[in-house]
Structure formats: C-alpha cells, structure tokens
C-alpha cells in the first residue's frame, strides 16, 4: 500500500516542482517550458484516474506527511469526494493547458503563465487532498495568490482594476477563514479535521463553534461567489485571459469554495436543518440573481461569469436539500459545470483570438467561418441550459426531482425558472454570435489553431456523453463514492481515524 500512499503527494509535489523549474528555465527554453507544463498536467490527469481505482479498492487512504501521526502531524486524505474533485481539476486543467499553447502566444510571458498556472493547480490539489484545516488555509492562499496574478496577466487598466478588487475581497475572505481556524484551534486544541470533528461531537455545541461556522460560510462563500458575496466575480473572471477564466470559473470557485463548504459543514461540523436551509436559500438567491443579471449582458465573457454565479446556486441548492438524491444532483452538476463552463470560456477565447472582440453585437454569422467553435459552443450552451441529451440536463433533472421528492416544490419551481432563463440567455448568445449575417469585417478569418480545436472538441465530447456517468455500473466508480462521503456526514472522522490505525 506504500506506493499508493506516496502517490498522494505527487499531486502536490509535481506541479510545485514544475512551477519552480519553469521559473528557472522558462526565459531560456521557451518550447521546453510549454512541453514540460503540458506533460506534468497530463501525468496528473492520468494519476487522478488511478486514484478512482484506489477509492474503489480501499475507500479511504490517509498519508502521514513526514511520518508524524495525525493529531500532531499533517495528513493527506484521499476519499471519494477528494478523488472526484481531483479528477475534475486535473481533467479540466489538462484541456486548459492544451488550449493555452496557442492562445498564450499573444502574451509575452508564456513561461510565467505556466508557472502561475501550475502553482494554482498545486494549490487546488492540496486543498482537496489535505486533512488539516491550517494546511488547507495554506493551499487556499497558494491557489488564490496565483489566481490574483493570473487575473492581472494582461496588465491593462481594466485587468489591474479587476485584479485589485479581487485581491481585496478575496483577502478579506481569507482573513475570515483564518480567524475561524484560530477560534476553532483555541477551542479544540487541534487542527486535524477528523480529530476536530470527534472533539466537537463529544462536547456540547459551544457558541464559538457556531461563530467559526459563520465565518467559514462567509469566507468560503466569497471564494465560491454565492450571491451576497459575488461582487468580485463578474469583474475578475472576464478580465483574465480566456484559459484562466475557464480555470477560475470551472475549478477555482469549486475547489476553494464549494468543496471546502461541503467538507467543513457536512464532514466536520455536521449539518443541521438550519444550515441546510441556509444553503438552499443562498443557492436559490444565487441562481436567480446570477441568471437575471446575465440576461442583460452584451460582453460574452461577462455573461458567462454571471452564469457561473447562477450555476453555483444550483450546486448549493442540490447540496442544501440534504437528501442523497439532492447531493448526487449537486455533485454531478458541479462536475458538469466544470466541463461546460470552461468550454464556453474557451469558445469565447477562441472568438477573441480570431476576431479580437468580446462584444456579442459585433459578432454575427461566425458559424460558417468557425465551424468547430460554433458547434462546440452550441453543445455547451445546450448543456448549460439543460437540454437533453447533454450532461447539464441530467444533473438539473436530478436536482429538480430531488426537490420534489423532498417536498420542496417551491425550490423546484425556481430551479425550472432559472433553467428557462438560462436557455433564453444562451439563445441570445447563439443568435448574435453564430447565426445571422456575417459581419463584413470578418470575411477573411480562419478557424482557430489545431490544438485549440482539439481541447474544445474534447470538452464537447464529455458534454455529449456526460450523462453516461450516472448510469448504474458507471456511477459506482465515480460519483457514488463522492456522494457516500457527503451522505455519511460526521462519520468521516471514524472512517479516517479507522484508516490511520
């Protein structure tokens, strides 16, 4: 079992080593640094597939960093939910690095881009693997700081302004998280999640624990861009280069926000009906506010950024129902959203790469000139709007059925309404960008370079066949272990402590 355990560190070590070697050699060997970064992310993608097998075989793996036993040392914990997130992160990162080979050519410092991107991947992998709340904070900051720099990568006025807003709000969130961790540490004298959870289960619920929970909801809610805390996202996501927008919308808000909320509230504190109610209401508010704000946007990327808020609302609604079916829907929608939203951002990047515009009313008729971009974006639009047979349909269907099953018809109504408004909004995108008359400026344009097409087609394939993942026989390998971890709730501590022995 030793080599399987050692594999867990590889998810953190390999991107970190890649990032620092990149910053060392990128100036001299440009081709090498591109190749090297893509290779690392590809290896991580393959390894994340291997972790699914481990979860199937051992159900939970606990790695003791430095050989120190858990209450004192740091642990890395691989369970169903971690493996699920790892696969999502590394799969999407792989397509994003593939896309950025050509796309990032128009920026001068491609090596720096890969350095920061690998650091961000290392941070996200660390967040989903660690079993220690302070270690989680450290990885959270690695990923966040890399993302601040990446948002400002264009170094134009708008980008710097958006990045500054993002830095201020995100740092406030990090400080709230740190304060929460400090309060919990002073109360329970432990930082290990499983140990903390068993301490909280033994004692009477103290007010300070509830206060820390509120601080966490604020801090991680801001990282996840749930509605009262969403103001930074519509500026930060469109300002970044397209591959980074894809990574921020597809991965960062989920790994740093939604995943940590699930882990802390379901597995460490334990959920009550009030907390679940808060999740559902926040989910519905995000869903509706996000989609209503998106309807009026004419900037393609800004529209997509508002839809990210709305789709995170669906995930929170599914999780907030608290039933196994609702959690299945929420997690499945998390995966699906991290496929079609990066695809849409890559489409917008491809259009921007070719035509140089992000304004929907300056496009038009691009379908005949850019067949691959147009068709993949059609698939992604239909997925996000929840049209069968694409993957978004299945996860939204499960969430709505779960609402009805839990006796929350009203929640189901809002979910359906949000889906219809999403469809309307993406009809607008399709009509203005790809159908209609071709703008005379763009008669000479050619389709995007080959590698950009490959990464878009790859994501579109997952969108088309994503529904297979919840068929019986397939879901046991991927989604069911993740759902089990969340449904088991605070039994997480017994599983982890049992695995340490």
């Amino acid at each position: 079992m030793r080599w399987e355990l050692n594999l867990l560190c590889v998810f953190i070590v390999l991107p970190l080593a890649g990032a620092f070697l990149n910053s060392l050699v990128a100036r001299r060997f440009r081709k090498f640094s591109t190749l090297w970064s893509n290779l690392i992310i590809f290896i991580l993608f393959l390894l994340s597939l291997v972790t699914l097998k481990f979860v199937n075989q051992y159900s939970v793996l606990v790695y003791k960093v430095g050989g120190w036993s858990p209450p004192f040392g740091i642990t890395l914990v691989l369970d169903g939910l971690s493996a699920f997130m790892l696969l999502a992160i590394n799969l999407i990162s792989f397509t994003i690095t593939l896309f950025s080979i050509n796309y990032m050519e128009k920026f001068t410092a491609k090596g720096k881009f890969y350095t920061l991107f690998l650091l961000m991947v290392a941070g996200m992998n660390g967040v989903v693997l660690t079993g220690d709340i302070f270690n989680l904070f450290v990885f959270l900051e690695i990923a966040s700081i890399a993302s601040y720099a990446l948002v400002a990568f264009g170094t134009e006025k708008d980008e710097l302004e958006a990045a500054f807003k993002y830095i201020v709000m995100s740092t406030v969130a990090s400080m709230f998280v740190l304060l929460g961790i400090g309060l919990l540490y002073s109360y329970a004298s432990t930082l290990n999640m499983a140990d903390l959870s068993s301490y909280l289960a033994q004692t009477e619920p103290a007010l300070v624990v509830k206060f820390a929970a509120v601080l966490f909801l604020f801090g991680f809610g801001l990282k996840a861009a749930i509605v009262p805390f969403h103001a930074w996202l519509p500026d930060a996501h469109p300002s970044a280069p397209a591959p980074i927008s894809a990574a921020l919308s597809g991965l960062v808000i989920k790994a740093l926000g939604v995943y940590v909320i699930v882990r802390m509230f379901f597995n460490v504190f334990g959920v009550t009906s009030e907390i679940l109610g808060v999740f559902s209401v926040l989910g519905i508010v995000s869903m509706m506010v996000g989609v209503l704000l998106a309807l009026g946007q004419w900037d393609f990327k800004r529209l997509l950024a508002y839809h990210s808020i709305s789709q995170v609302g669906y995930i929170m609604l599914g999780l907030g129902l608290g039933t196994p079916l609702g959690i299945l829907g929420g997690l499945f929608h998390l995966f699906n959203h991290s496929v079609f939203k990066p695809l849409l951002f890559l489409n917008s990047g491809s259009i921007e790469y070719i035509t140089g515009t992000r304004k929907l009313n300056e496009m038009g008729g691009l379908r005949e000139k850019l067949p691959v971009t147009a068709n993949t974006s059609f698939i992604a639009s239909m997925s996000i709007a929840g049209i069968p047979p694409f993957n978004g349909f299945w996860s939204k269907l499960i969430i709505i059925i779960a609402c009805v099953e839990a006796g929350r018809i009203g929640y189901g109504f809002w979910a359906v309404l949000g889906s219809i408004l999403t469809l309307a909004s993406f009809m607008k995108v399709q009509k203005y960008a790809f159908f209609g008359k071709l703008n005379e400026k763009y008669t000479q344009i050619k389709e995007a370079p080959f590698l950009m097409q490959v990464s878009m087609l790859f994501l579109a394939l997952i969108c088309v066949f994503g529904g297979i993942l919840i068929l019986p026989g397939v879901r046991e390998y991927f989604i069911t272990p993740a759902v089990d971890v969340v449904v088991r709730g605070i039994a997480y501590k017994d599983v982890v402590i049992g695995a340490i022995k």
């Binding site: 050692n6 970190l16 620092f20 003791k64 050989g67």
Partner: protein, 151 residues
C-alpha cells in the same frame, strides 16, 4: 545634493551604511543558522538579509545596485531556494515519507549542528525570502520610475 553625490543620499549616510551593512547581513545569517535553537528562522533571517540590500539601495541609489544585483540573479536565487526546499522534502522519501527527517545525525539539543533537516530547510527558506523580498522592493521602485512613460 552636490554633483559628486547625485546618486543616493549624503556622504554621512553612505559612510554609516558602508560600516553597518555588513553587520546587518551577518546578523541575518546568524538568525537563519540559529533558527532551530532560538527565536527567528528562515523567514525572519531572510527578511533581515533582504533589508541589508534595501539599505544599500536607499543609500547609494538604484543604479549602483542594479549593476551588482540584476533582476535575473534574484529570480534565479528565488527559484533555487524553492527547489532546494522541495528537494529536502522529497529526499524524505528515502525514509519512506514526504518531508521525513532523513538526516541521520540528529545531534545534541540546543547546538547549531542538530535538528536534522530543519537548518537546511531554514537556509532554503532564507534564500527564497531574501531574494523574493528584495525583488518585490526592486519591482516597486521600477514601477514608480516608468509609470509616466510609454514602454
């Protein structure tokens, strides 16, 4: 300012800096090397080492420092510090665990040559912090100079 000293500050400050900067630098190294037996460590020592360079820059002006410590050297040292720290952690796999204390000779408590890999990690952190902090200072100066001009 007279024409002789138009780079940096006055002669008094230059002289005092010349006398003290070596001590500041050595004090930084002292903090780093005693990180595991007394308060301080890689980060604090690294900051002090960076401050000795900042001190030189304030006294002698930025052109003088650019000549001796170019930005590429700083970025090189920063990467080397990070990779050194990561290698120390990775060498732990020889003992079976990431970050395992692979140093065979653990030494006596409260002496400098003790505590396994900790002094080495402190040195790696100090290299990273010293070059990183000084690079940040350089970048801030650089931005202030070129903000009015088109590049």
């Amino acid at each position: 300012m007279n024409s002789e000293n138009n780079n940096g500050m006055s002669l008094i400050i230059k002289t005092v800096t010349r006398l003290t900067v070596g001590f500041i630098f050595i004090y930084g190294i002292y903090i780093v090397l005693h990180g595991h037996v007394s308060p301080g460590g890689g980060f604090a020592g690294g900051v002090i080492i960076a401050l000795s360079f900042v001190n030189l820059m304030l006294a002698y002006g930025k052109e003088e420092l650019y000549k001796r410590v170019p930005k590429t050297v700083l970025s090189l040292f920063e990467s080397i510090g990070a990779i050194m720290f990561l290698s120390i952690a990775l060498l732990g796999f020889t003992g079976g665990y990431f970050f395992y204390d692979w140093f065979v000779y653990k030494g006596e408590p409260f002496s400098i040559f003790s505590a396994g890999t900790m002094p080495l990690s402190n040195i790696a952190i100090a290299i990273k912090v010293a070059s990183g902090l000084f690079a940040i200072f350089l970048v801030l100066i650089l931005l202030r100079v070129t903000s009015g001009e088109e590049e």
